[in-house]
């Protein structure tokens, strides 16, 4: 990665010498700073290749001038790039430059992950089917889902609760599309490699249930 230039000569602005910089860097910069994840996917292909080629220089650039990390994750064709806060320095990033994904969306994200990667419904690719599945196919956690997504506390749910849940699921997918986790075109969506970042973000909690089990019990 980034071995197109001798290592010692790479500086935070080496990437500007790349002949494609004029055409691509602006787009890349906007995308990354808007929280977008970039992977080898259709229109992102060029952007991805540019970052891949100039990774070392770009990483220096973002770290030096913006105090953020240009990170890479995923293997081979599943690889993706994104900007991340430097650990424990979140406080240094102005509040204007941070955005918190609503927790409802995180739950929708994990539901989507479960349906496709754990329950193997690999053909799932429409928003309407996802809405239906989340609402109907998971009886065991249905009350919890409605409480989290539709703020419904009752035992029986209504059409209005259904609509609220649908709305949250749709908004979540739109947000995922915005940050490049999925590609959404009308009702149809495709999951992109960077969607794997979701379980990765909570990797600590997922791999070490004692982190939350004890807390939950203590409450």
């Amino acid at each position: 990665m980034g071995n197109h230039y001798p290592e010692e000569a790479i500086t935070p602005n080496s990437f500007l010498a790349d002949s494609d910089a004029t055409e691509l860097f602006g787009k890349i910069d906007y995308a990354l700073k808007n929280g977008k994840h970039i992977q080898r996917w259709q229109e992102q292909e060029n952007l991805y290749l540019f970052i891949e080629k100039n990774y070392v220089s770009l990483r220096q650039y973002y770290r030096e001038f913006f105090g953020v990390l240009l990170e890479a994750a995923g293997e081979s064709i599943q690889k993706y790039f994104f900007l991340e806060f430097i650990p424990d320095s979140r406080g240094n990033i102005p509040i204007d430059n941070r955005y918190f994904l609503p927790n409802e969306y995180v739950i929708v994200g994990f539901m989507l992950y479960k349906i496709i990667y754990i329950d193997n419904y690999i053909e799932l690719n429409t928003l309407s089917t996802l809405q239906k599945m989340i609402r109907q196919d998971y009886e065991d956690i249905k009350p919890g889902i409605y409480r989290a997504l539709a703020k419904a506390k009752k035992i029986h749910t209504t059409q209005m609760d259904d609509e609220k849940a649908n709305d949250v699921i749709e908004k979540a997918l739109r947000e995922f599309a915005r940050i490049g986790w999925i590609h959404l075109d009308g009702d149809v969506f495709d999951i992109l490699p960077s969607f794997q970042r979701l379980p990765k973000i909570y990797g600590d909690y997922i791999n070490d249930p004692s982190l939350w089990l004890n807390k939950a019990n203590a409450q």
Partner: protein, 454 residues
């Protein structure tokens, strides 16, 4: 009165009558027996393709072990009813020889199912058929042979092509559903990996077959072109309809092929991801546990006017970098901000300032008058003397101690030059070599001579 030709065949109402549907599509116990017999007819077990009632009984027994084991019933009675029903569409009974044989419908019934289910997919066969079809079409010399080609050759080919495509689609369905069923095996890594490999391989095959079929379509394109040529050549209404329908059929087939392609495109990458996920069944199990924990224990909090969900314990939300980089374009919109009248500047008047301003303008006017007087004087002098030196007038007008007079002198010279130059009867010559000086002035002038033309 209704003509017999006007009678329309209503398929649905016809097949709904009494037992018709059940007789055409018998229950599995009867249908399977027919298949059992079909296979034996195909491999030549029965002489002259005829079989006895005992063969029918054997067929029913072999495919329905449950009827046989049910001791409380008399299977022969059941068989008898089934055989009687089958005689409607499937089998024919020759009373004389006490033999049974297949009716045409039974053969179609079995052949169709066989074709559809047969796993041996052969796009090359389709290609060969297409090739033969094209050759034949090319050799059609007249309208009649052409319509024969449509009705006989092409119509038999259509279902074959369609069934090949249906076959591919069904293969995908099966692979996908077997993948889903394997969810239960999630914790036995070995098995799942094997299945997944198998399914991935199956998708590869389907993709290859799809590609081959696409090649066969090249031949179809040629057929289509030929058809269109014929349609143009004969300009016949019936032929046009046939060609039009065929074109629509081809388009439909092509669309199906694309849909299959798209399905594969969508599914295959996910299978690859499942491979990497397989290595972590424990992780997946924990993801589920974590998700359930979030769903069950999240609470609702009110943030401002909005209700939000808060995760239990100290599980944080996801923070995403979003640097504000909106460009603020500052622009004055004239439609939103119409030009406003400027405030009038009011200067307080005073008598002193007024008289000062008056004196100033009077002075200017006076000067103008003086210039004119001098010009007149100069003109008279030229008219009389035929020639004069303008520079000398300068020193007459200007007085070394009065700056205003110098201004006047300069103005007179400039005005005079312009005045005489414009008139044809005068000429002006300026001679920079001859410099006119006056001891009382620091200023010196070039010699300027005005002449009156004769």
């Amino acid at each position: 009165m209704q003509n017999s030709n006007d009678y329309t065949f209503l398929f649905l109402s016809e097949i709904s009558k009494e037992k018709t549907y059940g007789l055409l599509y018998p229950e599995a116990k009867a249908g399977l027996a027919i298949i059992w017999l079909y296979e034996r007819i195909q491999n030549g077990t029965f002489q002259q393709n005829a079989f006895k009632e005992k063969d029918l009984h054997q067929a029913l027994r072999e495919v329905n072990p449950s009827i046989e084991s049910d001791k409380s019933r008399h299977p022969k009675e059941t068989y008898n009813v089934i055989i009687a029903d089958l005689q409607e569409y499937f089998i024919r009974y020759d009373e004389e020889r006490q033999e049974y044989s297949f009716k045409e419908y039974a053969l179609i019934f079995c052949r169709q199912a066989y074709e559809i289910l047969k796993a041996s997919f052969s796009p090359t066969r389709i290609e060969k058929i297409c090739f033969a079809l094209r050759e034949k079409l090319q050799n059609c010399q007249e309208l009649e042979s052409l319509s024969d080609w449509f009705k006989l050759d092409f119509d038999t080919f259509k279902p074959q092509l369609k069934s090949q495509l249906d076959f591919l689609d069904r293969q995908i369905d099966q692979s996908v559903s077997s993948l889903r069923q394997n969810k239960q095996l999630s914790f036995q890594e070995g098995t799942v990996l094997e299945t997944l490999k198998q399914i991935d391989g199956r998708f590869e095959t389907i993709r290859a077959q799809n590609k081959e079929l696409r090649t066969a379509f090249k031949e179809i394109d040629q057929i289509r072109r030929l058809m269109e040529d014929y349609a143009a050549k004969y300009d016949n209404g019936d032929l046009d309809i046939l060609v039009h329908n065929s074109v629509i059929f081809f388009q439909e087939m092509r669309r199906t092929l694309t849909i299959i392609d798209k399905r594969l495109d969508r599914i295959q990458p996910k299978i690859r991801q499942l491979f990497s996920n397989l290595n972590k069944p424990l992780f997946n199990y924990r993801v589920e546990k974590f998700l359930y924990h979030l769903v069950e224990n999240s609470t609702e909090v009110t943030k401002g006017a909005k209700k939000a969900t808060q995760f239990p314990g100290n599980i944080p939300p996801i923070a995403i970098i979003r640097m504000r980089q909106d460009f603020a374009i500052v622009e004055r919109k004239t439609d939103l901000f119409p030009l406003q009248a400027k405030k009038r500047l009011v200067i307080p008047e005073s008598a002193e300032a007024k008289s000062k301003a008056f004196a100033k303008s009077q002075n200017k006017l006076g000067q103008q008058d003086e210039i004119s007087i001098w010009i007149d004087r100069i003109q008279q002098a030229v008219d009389t003397d035929k020639e004069l030196s303008l520079a000398e007038y300068f020193f007459q007008i200007a007085k070394p101690t009065e700056p205003l007079s110098i201004m006047l002198a300069i103005a007179v010279i400039y005005r005079a030059i312009g005045f005489f130059e414009r008139q044809e009867k005068y000429s002006i010559s300026i001679n920079p070599d001859n410099i006119i000086q006056n001891p009382t002035f620091k200023t010196s002038l070039w010699e300027i001579i005005i002449r009156r033309k004769p």
